[in-house]
């Protein structure tokens, strides 16, 4: 029973991280219908920026965090402006392959600068955040991740509901043409959604880096694990990403705990194939209806 509880807690916390990582992905897809294969590399870039700020520039943690998020925001802007904007209206394969190309470009760049070894941040989280309750042990990082994650969720909820830019973004996601004819600056919305997505990705990258250490290969593998998460939750639902993430996380830890540890890496993809065959638009996704 204790084993079960610990697995449950682990699964939920890992799943929450997956959900957090998937949030940025969903945001890009929702507004510009681009499937971003470079998402794992965006996570890693955020983690490495933070590392550079903390160890090379030696900024205090809070300042480093804010500078990193600002860098990611600008990076997202640049990616959209120089790489994605020329491809608006081009066939799907070019857009997908562009993000695949960007992914290996960033990955190579990071390997050149930081190498492929595992690196860690200096410890800075207060021990108070750790929860020790009977047999259940939650490390401080997970609590911090939970707090940051919920904070961002609320922030984005408010942003999309009340701010004018958020409403523009939703309108573009809903119907690009109608939004354009009503005077929404669609290109600005695309740029903004990429910037925000890169920011969220950077944030999740930092959290993941604190937990597992920073390694280009691991972080880009998480970028691929985003796919089962978002397909399960529905490609265009931010809440669905979190719930999908938790389900996938639970599935992974239980497979790892009860069946075989090596299988746990593949289970999400096996589930992915089944979901795609049975319910391709996921739990909360909007079904695409094609009319001739």
């Amino acid at each position: 029973m204790n084993f079960f509880l610990q697995l449950l807690i682990n699964g939920i916390s890992i799943g929450f991280l997956y959900g957090l990582s998937a949030m940025g992905f969903v945001m890009i897809f929702k507004s510009s219908s681009v499937l971003n294969f470079a998402h794992g590399e965006l996570l890693a870039l955020g983690a490495f920026f933070f590392l550079a700020m903390v160890t090379w520039v030696k900024l205090p943690i809070a300042a480093a965090f804010i500078v990193t998020l600002a860098c990611c925001f600008i990076l997202g802007f640049i990616i959209e402006r120089f790489f994605l904007r020329p491809l608006i209206g081009e066939p799907l394969i070019y857009v997908i392959m562009l993000t695949v190309g960007l992914a290996s470009m960033f990955k190579g760049l990071m390997l050149l600068v930081w190498g492929g070894n595992l690196q860690t941040y200096p410890a800075f989280l207060p021990e108070v955040l750790g929860i020790q309750w009977d047999v259940i042990n939650i490390p401080p990082v997970y609590t911090a991740a939970l707090i940051i994650g919920i904070m961002f969720l609320i922030l984005f909820g408010l942003f999309f509901k009340y701010s004018s830019q958020g409403i523009f973004m939703r309108s573009v996601a809903d119907n690009q043409r109608a939004a354009l004819s009503l005077g929404v600056h669609v290109q600005k919305v695309f740029a903004l959604s990429w910037a925000i997505a890169a920011l969220v990705a950077g944030m999740s990258g930092i959290v993941l880096g604190i937990i597992n250490g920073i390694n280009v290969h691991d972080l880009s593998a998480i970028g691929l694990k985003v796919f089962p998460v978002v397909i399960l939750g529905g490609l265009d639902s931010i809440g669905g990403a979190i719930i999908g993430g938790i389900i996938i996380g639970l599935l992974e830890t239980f497979t790892g705990g009860y069946i075989s540890p090596s299988l746990s890496d593949v289970v999400p993809y096996i589930v992915l194939v089944f979901i795609l065959m049975v319910k391709p638009y996921g739990l909360f996704g909007l079904a695409e209806i094609e009319r001739v």
């Binding site: 799907l92 394969i93 070019y94 562009l98 190309g101 492929g116 397909i231 194939v273 001739v292």
Partner: protein
Amino acid sequence: MKKLNFHPCGNYKERYEQEITIFETDFGRLWSWIGIFFLFVILPFISSPYFLHVLNMVGIASIAAIGLNILIGYTGQISLGHGAFIGVGAYAAAILATSVNMPFLLTLPMAGLISAMVGMIFGIPSGRLKGLYLTIATLAGQIIIEYVLVHWESLTKGTMGITLPRPSILGMELESDRSFFFLIFCCLIVMIWLAVNLMRTKYGRAFIAIRDNDRAAEGMGIPLFRYKLLSFGISSFYAGFAGAIWAYYMVSITSEPFTLGLSVEYIAMVIIGGLGSVSGSIYGAVFITFLNEILRWLTGIMMNIGVITESGLNVAPLREFFFGTSIVLFILFEPRGLAEVWRIIRSNFRLWPFAY
């Protein structure tokens, strides 16, 4: 004597046969014969063993890239699992050759067929899905196959790998790079011939119709699911065939090369070469293989003169970076690839000096 065909100064095609003819002019036919002569009679005897090895890798990559181009370029189904299908072919050949003792000439097509079957299984989602959903399904296929190759130890020997016997054709043993050269390029020419002619049949036309507009294609009476599955099968057959040759050429295989990275490499070949063009796949294969070799040579030089002293640095990150960059640049500036560049160069020569 038959009248020679030259480039007409307009579109004078009157029948469909003229439209689908492979060589528009007799010069094209002549040049391709000269090319084949040069390839088989001169090239293998003047090039060094290293260059022959590179050419062999180009040949193998070309076969697999043509297969991927049939799927992506002609049928419009984006697959991220091509690397895994090559792996299936390589393992199929290795297992058939070691445990069943199948003769070499039979293992190649058998490996292709097994790979085609696996490919069709992962093509089943294409019945309901299209576009990006299908891409994600093939991504899952890649990761699942990779896992099976490593963990089905009783069959694939896990990370130990399998060593293949030396292949022999009618009692003749293939051992040198040169004998493999003849084998690989004979196979390549047969595969090119098959692919080019496939696209002139009703199947090829159906593929192109599905790519251009799947709903219209269905409206014209093309059973979408069956043709998509067929395209997956043909593409994986090419992949498996190339994988089998690779396994024999490399003598021993492990599951290490058949990762998502390999799939991306092949998509890069197809995009850089030119989507929807058989010759484009070959240009792409040449480009990527030579890029690989140049980068390896470059890192070697930099290591020697001491620009790079870090012992951990190898060719992998540079390769990733240049792959990524070349994919991005081609998509942004010449999305139709090297085939289009070549066409533009040729037509410039033809029209010079009176371009209209």
